[in-house]
């Protein structure tokens, strides 16, 4: 079964540091998403990405966040200056077409200390 791969599985970083979370989408998928889930809470939408640009973003996705697909395969989420409240599980999800099943990666647990 095709799968979305995320690295690292766990990242610990100091407050104020930059982190980059990586996602390898399913090969023929065109729509990419980042979600985050604070422990015990709901899955929150951050950003959607299509055709090499952001198609939609939430209020959470402020200037500290950025996404790119630098080499046509990896899809990355960068947090420029991490805050304690950025600690969460970050999920990458991809879709072949809008309105179809979204496949989630296993997630990256980000801990900001």
């Amino acid at each position: 079964e095709p799968e979305v791969t995320q690295t690292p599985s766990h990242q610990v970083t100091q407050m104020g540091q930059e982190v980059i979370l990586r996602c390898v989408p399913i090969s023929n998928h065109l729509y990419f998403y980042w979600y985050r889930q604070i422990l015990g809470q709901k899955v929150e939408f951050l950003v959607s990405f299509y055709n090499n640009e952001i198609s939609e973003k939430s209020e959470i996705f402020d200037d500290q966040f950025s996404v790119e697909r630098p080499d046509g395969s990896n899809f990355t989420l960068k947090i420029r200056s991490t805050k304690l409240e950025d600690s969460a599980m970050y999920f990458c999800a991809t879709q072949g077409r809008v309105g179809t099943e979204a496949f989630f990666g296993q997630g990256t647990r980000l801990t900001v200390v």
Partner: protein, 108 residues
Amino acid sequence: GQQVMQIPQYQHVQEGEDFTTYCNSSTTLSNIQWYKQRPGGHPVFLIQLVKSGEVKKQKRLTFQFGEAKKNSSLHITATQTTDVGTYFCAGRATALIFGKGTTLSVSS
């Protein structure tokens, strides 16, 4: 912005009892998807409903999409311990927005 509300937040049942979770959107949805997240896991797609009033079944799971395409429900008949997890509805007006989820626990 679009909001997707889900109730109840938690539900505990005895094995063999039925379970229902309800999802309501503040806006009309083009479709609704349901996902299950096991403890410590990631969301896994269960089903998508597209048509107004649609009902779909997967073994003991029954999914409904409301006539106005603003609400949906998931009903599990005769729960088993393997049903444990959090069930999320996710509606799409633009981006896929998740409800808060209903966490189901089952005791044998």
